[in-house]
Every structure is written in structure tokens, then in C-alpha cells.
Symmetry: none
Subunit: 363 residues, 2 copies
DNA sequence: ACCACTGGTCAAGTGAGTTGACCAGTCGGC
DNA sequence: GCCGACTGGTCAACTCACTTGACCAGTGGT
């Protein structure tokens, strides 16, 4: 059913009108001035400029400051093929992608399909290495896409996309200084809040357990977590940041190390839904009572958490919303092919569950 | 100079899209609900309502509170609609669909998109009730599809699709006598095998824990499970089939009942991945050791099981394969629109894990 | 009686687009 | 020479269509 509405931005519509006008040889040699054009099109100058920038990127115009834009003579129809695919970059194979992401990805695929776009998933550790530049260049040449959706990306990758000027969107945080549109969670606020919950319940040895990756979201998580200990209440407590490599075995080992000492931690904030499951189940398996021996909060949540006993305290978000926001940005981006730094930051909702324990005054 | 840009509001565009849809007789009798429509159009409800109000003013719709809008019959024929969509029926909303299914569904969507087909998911308990006929008729009229993909269906539903002669494929087993193409797992063999594993390890009180649904797969599971007890080794043992309603709370209660007696079961075969998680975690939470106090096998597996400690014994299958097979049948079906009873039965691979215990001779 | 659905309403938030202002560079004419 | 009227380049403030998320009462099937 093609019920979907196209919803082109004014910029796209203006660009299309200008293309049409150029095609019909409305002007010769140079374009009219911006102010004149914006008057004719009945749009504002910033909007017109964005449209003209599109045409420049397509090679139809040349600009130089102080002079009117020059119309480039075209030899035959060098119509810039518009790519109708969105490439997705992920380090994980489809089966290992967390259900939450799978859910919004599927919904996103549906939304994009209605707009005539196809999602193409490229999964592999290759692009996530220390020096991804060469592989990224190879990929974007061999599998060209109208836009790229980046998932769990490190700084190097993000920087590469900015510099190569390919249209890209982040699902997850952008590193400082990276000007890419993104949809992500406010992990700084989440982790600060979670640590605060632990502190208010009298915990004094608190672990943030996360994957050793260099995504911006994880860095923010750490920063937010540590911020909570700079308050008066937190100064007396012990903040521990522990890393693992993402595999179940590695998480188990890390927990083994943490719990093997005399003054073991009593509170665990765990990043990502599956490591949270591993943490909680391993605690139970060791005979610890949750929450009285060890409290747990999951930074991320997935639907299978509903089926864990005791119910984990966690932060929940809406995959449908995530998909809609991404789809709008992507459709926009593929139409305009220009970065408009559009950062959407979502605050997931806290769900207390049973793994946190009652409020108490002192330890 | 036709440089001017027509700038329709979203409301106008939506109204136009709806007029178009009405023209094409996309729905019969009544419109879908506002929430559903706004989701399909990817606009917010207030905006949609304004558009619907436009149509009402034009006399194409009638509204009355608490009921869906009624389409006013108009003279003049509508165009016959071409069906390039595959409708998916599921009782669960997208977020609650198990990751395994989500995974093959997404891959299926990709494969179908390549063939120019769109997947349209319809989730709701409505079609899964005791008397689904009326609602199914309404659905297939209001959202016509070139083929239907049925998920977790009961016998009544399957029979309805056979009798209405709509092209349909089952993901899951067909009930006896139902001649629909299907891709499913051989749960009879799986459960017989699982019960055999328990018996060989000396367990004598063995539970099959499953959702009280009337899908063919679940019936086969029960049959296969019980078959294992008709061997010489199984005759001395106690087979218990316990049902729950699928909610975490219900599973917990059921387990509470099972474990509350003196001679509690020592082995649990659990259908579906999430109930298996609930079972294993609840056992641990109660201080039972897995597997020495209670052994667990999951009939179905999902990737998050990797992150449970101890590793659950389970049966694994390949979502990619599942998607490929379904896509072939569906593309075939939508091309030829005839049933060719094509039953594909998959035997998932057994993974012993840690929750089953070593082999031993006697209890 | 319940529960899941329907249409009806609303307040708060947000982001695309507008407006209007100020640069520095270019160019023609006095 | 130099003024002034153009050019493109940039920015901050404002506006309003649209979104979001929440509630309500009524309907209808189980």
C-alpha cells in the first residue's frame, strides 16, 4: 500500500524547480542573484541557498564570492544517478544484533520501503578496526549508497565519513566535534541517574561494567557515571569502571575478578542488554541474592528482560520512535545530500524493577 | 515562469493520499482506526484528524464516537488494486516478537523488497481469538494482500484461510488436514529427543512447560515429549505437562506451584526462548543449582541465551535459512496464487550447554 | 464486568523555515 | 579614485505547523 506521504523539504522542492528551470534554459550564462531568486520562488534566502548548494554539488553551478552563480554547460544528460539504497554499517551479524535494534531496523526498513528506498546491511568487524579508512573507501565504492546509517561507530569511522562528505546518520552518539546527524540516548544522564540511585540506597562500592569499545555513547556513560561521585553523597563511595570485550566468557571472567576480592562491589550498572543478562544470571548462579547482596541496573533494556527473574531495574526506550526519527532524517538526507547537523537525544525511561532494592538511608 | 512552488500543508497531502486510497478501494466499509492510519501515513494523529475532517466535510466519510469512520459509497468505479504486499499475521506487537523471528522477518523483508514486494505486519490478539472468522474477513478485506504469512496460528485460523482460498504460508506447523505450505521445526522429534536426554541422565520427574496455545507445533511438542515415556526407560518416570499463558507472571506462578511440592520435578523442558529464560532465572533465584538440583533444556533458542549463565542446553536453528525458504514460497505463491502444499520441516541442532549435567546411569 | 479498542481533546515541545541584519568582495559609474 | 549598489556568506531571533504523549468517554466482544 503506497499510503506513505513523500514529504519533500522546501529545499528539495526548490532544487527540483531550479533543475527544471535550468533544463528549460530559463537563464543564460549566470543565475539571477539570490535575493531575486528567493523572491521569485517565494522562499527565504537560507532555504534557497541550500537548494543552490545541492545544484552546485551536482555540478550544475559554479559559485565565487561576490559574483552571481555561473551555469555549467552540460554535455548530454549527465544525470547524477540517485541511489535508492541506504547502507547500514554494523559490527555484528544480523543474528547477534540486540533485539531492540533489530526491531527498529525492521520498522525502519518498512518505512524506507514506503519511500522507495532499500536498506542494505553490511556487517563486519572490518570497518570497525583501528584503521578503517581503506576498508571504508573500498566499501563505499563497491556498494554505493544514497546514505549511510552508522551503528556503534568509533571516532575514526565517524571522522572518515565527515571528511569524505558522504551523507551519513549515526544511530548512537557522535564523538565531540563530529557534525553528523544522529539519534541517540542520553547515556550521560542515564548513568549519572543510575549511580545516584545506587548511592541513595547506601551502596559504597559501585561498578560500571561495559564493553571496551570507543563509541561516544560509552564514553559519555563513563563520564556521567563518574559525575555522580563528585557530589557530596558520592565522595565517600568507590566508583569502579570495568571493561570486557563483549563475549559472554569475557564478561564472566571480569565478574569473577570483581567478586573474588574481600570487599566485593555491591552494585552493578551494566551497559547493553545482553551483558546485563550475563551479569545478573552469573550473580544468581554464584548464590548471591539480588538485590540484597548485589544490586543491578541495566543501562539498556530489551524485551527479553521481562522474562528475567528478578525483574531488572533498567532504562527503556521505544524502538518505533527510533525508527521513525531515523527514517525522517534518512529520507531527508537522501533527498538533499547535505549534512544538516541534526542531533536527537532521547532520555529512556527508568523502570525500577526488583533488582535495585528499597530506598534506605545508610549502608 | 513557473518557478513558484506549491506548498501544500501536511494535512492537505494526507487528505490527498487518503482520497487516492479511497478511490482505489483500499478499504471496504470502514476506515482503519486513527492510530493505525497515522502509523501507516507516518504522520501524527492530530494532523491525520485534520485530514479526515476534510474528507468528512467533503461527504466521503461519516464519523461517530467510539466507532471507526464509515466510508460513504460513491457512484463511479474504482481502479482494481494490484497487490504487491505480503501481509503478516502475528499475535504479538513487533517489540515482543522473539529475536529469532524478528531476525528472519527482517531478512525476509529484504529478500521480498528485492522482488518488489512489501511486507506488512498486522499484529493483534484479535485474529487469534476463539472465533477469528469475522475479524479475519474484515482484515483481509480492509488490508488486502497478495499473500499471507501466518505466525503462531491456531487451527481455526488455518482452516479459515484454506476455506477462503487466500494464498497463505505458515511459519510454524500446519494442523492435521490443513493443506497450506509451511516452514517449521520438527518439534515432535525435538521434544522426544529432549525427554530422552533427561531420562538417560536419570531424571524421573520431568516437566514440559509450554504456553497454553493451540498451535500445531505445541501439540506436536507434547506428543513427542510423551512418546519418550513410552519406551522401556521412560515407563518408570513421571511426565508432567504444565501450561502458562505466556506472561512472565504466569510462568513464575506455574513454577511456584510445581516447585512447592515435596517431590518437585528435577528436569524442565521449556517451549519458547523467553519462557526458558524465565524458568532458568527463577530456578536460580530460588537458590536451586542448575543442573544438579534442576536441569533445563530450551526447546527454542535465541541469541540472548548465549549471555545466560549457566549456558542453557537448547535447540538452535538458522534464521537466514528460514527467511530464504519463506521468501521462495511467498514469491512463488504471489506469482501463481495457487496452493501447492509445500511442507518444509527443519530439525534444529542440539547444543548441550551446561544446564543439562553429565551423563549418569541412575538417579 | 472486564478489556481492548474506538474517536475526542489538549498541553508542551520542536524544528523547518522566515525575517532581518551585518559582513566582505565585486563592479560600474561618477 | 572612490562611492554605492550589487554579489555571495553568515547568523540569531522568531513563528508556527507538526509531533508527542497523555487523558477521557463510549463501543463491543469475551
Amino acid at each position: 500500500m503506497s499510503l506513505a506521504i513523500h514529504r519533500p523539504s522546501l529545499v528539495e522542492q526548490a532544487a527540483e524547480a531550479l533543475r527544471q528551470a535550468l533544463q528549460e534554459r530559463t537563464w543564460i550564462g549566470r543565475m539571477p542573484g539570490e535575493r531575486e531568486l528567493s523572491r521569485q520562488l517565494n522562499i527565504s534566502r537560507p532555504t534557497l541557498r541550500a537548494a543552490l548548494e545541492l545544484l552546485r554539488a551536482e555540478g550544475r553551478l559554479k559559485v565565487s564570492p561576490g559574483r552571481q552563480r555561473v551555469i555549467v554547460k552540460r554535455a548530454g544528460g549527465g544525470a547524477p544517478l540517485r541511489l535508492r539504497t541506504v547502507g547500514v554499517l554494523t559490527p555484528l551479524p544480523l543474528q547477534e544484533i540486540p533485539p531492540f535494534a533489530l526491531c527498529w531496523m525492521d520498522r525502519l526498513r518498512e518505512l524506507l520501503a514506503q519511500a522507495g528506498l532499500q536498506l542494505e546491511i553490511h556487517s563486519g568487524r572490518r570497518w570497525y578496526s583501528r584503521r578503517p579508512e581503506k576498508d571504508l573507501a573500498a566499501l563505499t565504492e563497491q556498494a554505493p549508497a544514497g546514505a549511510w546509517l552508522l551503528f556503534m561507530t568509533n571516532e575514526r569511522m565517524q571522522r572518515w565519513f565527515v571528511e569524505s562528505k558522504l551523507p551519513a546518520v549515526l544511530s548512537g552518539s557522535g564523538h565531540p566535534g563530529i557534525e553528523l546527524p544522529s539519534v541517540d540516548f542520553d547515556y550521560r544522564a542515564v548513568c549519572r541517574h543510575a549511580a545516584g540511585q545506587f548511592l541513595r540506597r547506601g551502596h559504597r562500592r559501585i561498578v560500571l561494567l561495559m564493553q571496551a569499545s570507543d563509541t561516544a555513547g560509552d564514553r559519555e556513560s563513563e563520564a556521567g557515571f563518574l559525575e555522580a561521585f563528585q557530589t557530596r553523597a558520592g565522595a565517600a563511595a568507590n566508583a569502579i569502571v570495568a571493561h570486557h570485550d563483549g563475549t559472554p566468557e569475557s564478561i564472566r571472567q571480569r565478574l569473577h575478578g570483581l567478586l573474588g576480592v574481600a570487599a566485593a562491589p555491591t552494585a552493578f550498572l551494566v551497559a547493553r542488554s545482553m551483558p546485563a543478562l550475563m551479569t545478573a544470571s552469573e550473580l544468581l548462579r554464584r548464590g548471591l541474592h539480588v538485590p540484597s547482596d548485589a544490586a543491578v541496573i541495566a543501562r539498556d533494556s530489551d524485551h527479553f528482560h521481562e522474562y528475567f527473574s528478578p525483574q531488572l531495574a533498567r532504562y527503556r526506550a521505544d524502538p518505533e520512535m527510533h525508527a521513525r526519527r531515523l527514517s525522517r532524517i534518512l529520507i531527508h538526507l537522501i533527498g538533499e545530500a547535505l549534512h544538516r547537523s541534526n542531533r536527537i537525544r532521547i532520555m529512556p525511561k527508568f523502570f525500577p524493577g526488583e533488582s535495585l532494592g528499597e530506598m534506605r538511608r545508610s549502608s
